[in-house]
């Protein structure tokens, strides 16, 4: 009797549940899956007159051209190095904030601190670019006029000197994301059994010892997981940070061009569909392999935390 009812349910609920899922599925099919099938564009020479499907196949020609340019090297190098700096420094900053935050027992205080530190993450890159501009612009910028000038130092034209941007962009990134990324560590520290600290205290361990011998070792699995997941995304970059914050300044391309900004510029500014789609597919495929690799390692370290 019971199994009969269950079976009836199973048959009866499929259609209505599929109907519920339909809008989301259709959206995902269009927004995500059709473009996945569209990767063949990278192997064609698109001529809108002939249409996308009838354009000539050119094999790996677009890729050969792309990797012959200096751009391919620059954008790959920049993407990787920025990510490396962001991962290492970002993890340190977030951990530092999280350890300090977990010392604040006053609820009101911790709420204020957290709000202040998360706020930079909530604003758009456009506003961030305004803020950076307020500090750096050559004629009226805060740094030039209110810091360098009173000190008698020479003013700097920030938006035409590429050498300084790795520091600027890293600083902006840390400012924007450290507070937000510390949330997860704060949650994990809050989950640590207080009794462990209690017994460490009885054994005479000072605060520093507690942090380095208890908190950090217990956080190690989370840190490793977050690290590996970030490594899986090492081929991606925040388009806004690298395009809008340097004001799309051509003089800075050597240190601000990443794969994402290259794809945009090749497509929208140079109208070079071949190069753009080749760079895009290069990013997707390497990114995909990196995620798979990172996940395989995560599964070895801690099967519970693996994505799949």
């Amino acid at each position: 009797m019971r199994t009969l009812r269950k079976r009836k349910n199973r048959l009866g609920n499929t259609l209505p549940l599929m109907l519920l899922a339909a809008p989301g599925l259709i959206y995902m099919f269009i927004n995500n899956y059709i473009p996945m099938f569209g990767i063949f564009i990278a192997f064609k020479e698109i001529d809108y007159k002939k249409g996308i499907f009838k354009s000539d196949w050119v094999g790996f020609k677009n890729f050969r051209f792309l990797f012959r340019t200096n751009d391919a090297f620059i954008m790959t190098r920049n993407t990787l190095l920025y990510n490396l700096a962001f991962i290492v420094l970002g993890t340190c900053c977030s951990l530092f904030i999280a350890i300090l935050m977990s010392e604040v027992t006053d609820r009101f205080c911790s709420k204020i601190f957290q709000a202040g530190l998360i706020l930079p993450n909530l604003i758009s890159m456009v506003v961030v670019s305004y803020i950076v501009y307020a500090f750096l612009n050559a004629d009226t910028g805060f740094i030039n006029l209110s810091i360098l000038k009173p000190l008698g130092l020479e003013e700097i034209s920030w938006y035409s000197e590429p050498g300084r941007w790795p520091f600027i962009l890293t600083l902006v990134h840390l400012w924007k994301t450290s507070g937000y990324n510390s949330i997860i560590y704060i949650a994990f520290i809050a989950g640590i059994d207080k009794g462990i600290y209690e017994s460490a205290r009885i054994d005479g361990a000072g605060k520093m010892k507690q942090i380095f011998k208890i908190t950090l070792p217990l956080l190690k699995p989370v840190i490793i997981i977050m690290f590996l997941l970030a490594v899986g995304r090492i081929f991606n970059s925040d388009f806004g940070l690298f395009y809008q914050v340097p004001m799309n300044s051509g003089a800075l391309y050597s240190t601000t061009q990443t794969i994402d900004t290259y794809v945009y510029r090749a497509l929208m500014q140079l109208n070079d569909i071949g190069m753009s789609s080749a760079a895009g597919l290069y990013q997707s495929v390497v990114g995909f392999l990196l995620v798979l690799g990172a996940n395989a390692i995560v599964r070895k370290v801690d099967p519970e935390s693996a994505l799949f």
Binding site: L20, A21, I123, V126, Y130, D139, I273
Partner: protein, 297 residues
């Protein structure tokens, strides 16, 4: 005694360091805010300053006189955010619910279909060609709402986990015994029961829409469809854009100098104002969402 001291000392160190960090996080906003009230002549001479000697309301007056452009952009942003977030929440929860139903045959397939989009994407060029050539989305409001932001797999899986962990199967069983259909169960029971996760997803989605300028960068060329972010970009590149409008020429007769920096910063203040006002009420949903997303079910 020594031990207690080291702990108290660290507590004090923590509070002081965090105070400094919060000030550093917040100072840039103060600079923008103060500059929007700074007299333009002072600004040109002394640059951006935290303590300007001469204040002025001219920037805001100017924006007020150009209210049409500003209000229109604000209207576009509010409309896009509201419609996108509302529709996004609906299709996200509707897709997540069947995935959470243990008696639904295709739940694992659906979850995989969603999950795979997090791993691989076709890149921007195919999407761009699809949206512009197949759907002719250029210069429509749909271009601001539909590509990229309406739904993402991360949110879908977040809601699925919430349903799977927080809504007991007996609730669904008993509703069925009372003769409620699947649609009714979803809209009358599940949706109201998922207010916390809906708030989180709504917050993530709403922020993404309010802060987005990239869809317009690709798909919009007519300023008619510019939201507040794209107006800011346009203003940064070309302050004359505001000047050309009618009210501005009237004002230009009276003003010697167009307060260009001040206007930019005043508009930036208007752009972040809604976030700063709403955020204190939404912080807990944001934090909950980040934590839920990391501790996957």
């Amino acid at each position: 005694m020594q031990k207690i001291n080291s702990e108290t000392a660290f507590k004090i160190f923590s509070v002081i360091t965090l105070t400094i960090l919060v000030i550093f996080a917040f100072l840039p906003f103060v600079l923008i805010f103060v500059t929007s009230f700074t007299d333009e002549v002072f600004l040109i001479k002394h640059g951006y300053s935290f303590f300007p000697k001469k204040l002025s309301l001219n920037s805001y007056k100017y924006l007020f006189n150009n209210y049409y452009t500003i209000l229109r952009a604000y209207g576009v942003s509010v409309f896009v955010t509201a419609v996108g977030t509302g529709a996004g929440i609906l299709i996200t929860t509707m897709l997540a619910y069947p995935m959470a139903r243990k008696d639904f045959k295709y739940r694992n397939i659906l979850a995989f279909v969603a999950f795979f989009t997090l791993l691989f994407n076709g890149g921007i060029v195919p999407s761009y060609i699809m949206w512009t050539r197949v759907f002719s989305i250029n210069n429509t409001y749909a271009a601001l709402i539909i590509p990229n932001f309406l739904m993402n797999a991360f949110n879908v899986l977040l809601v699925r986990n919430y349903y799977a962990n927080n809504v007991p199967g007996e609730v669904i069983e008993s509703a069925k015994i009372d003769g409620a259909g699947e649609m009714r169960i979803f809209f009358r029971i599940m949706l109201p029961m998922s207010v916390p996760v809906v708030a989180t997803v709504g917050l993530f989605t709403g922020l993404a829409y309010w802060n987005d300028w990239i869809n317009a960068l690709y798909y919009i060329s007519s300023p008619k469809y510019y939201g507040i972010q794209n107006l800011l970009i346009r203003l940064m590149n070309n302050i004359q854009f505001l000047k050309s409008s009618q009210a501005a020429t009237m004002l230009a007769g009276r003003e010697v100098e167009l307060p260009s920096t001040g206007i930019r910063m005043a508009l930036a203040v208007l752009g972040i104002l809604p976030i700063i006002i709403l955020y204190p009420f939404l912080q807990k949903y944001l934090i909950r969402g980040v934590v839920m997303g990391a501790v996957k079910g």
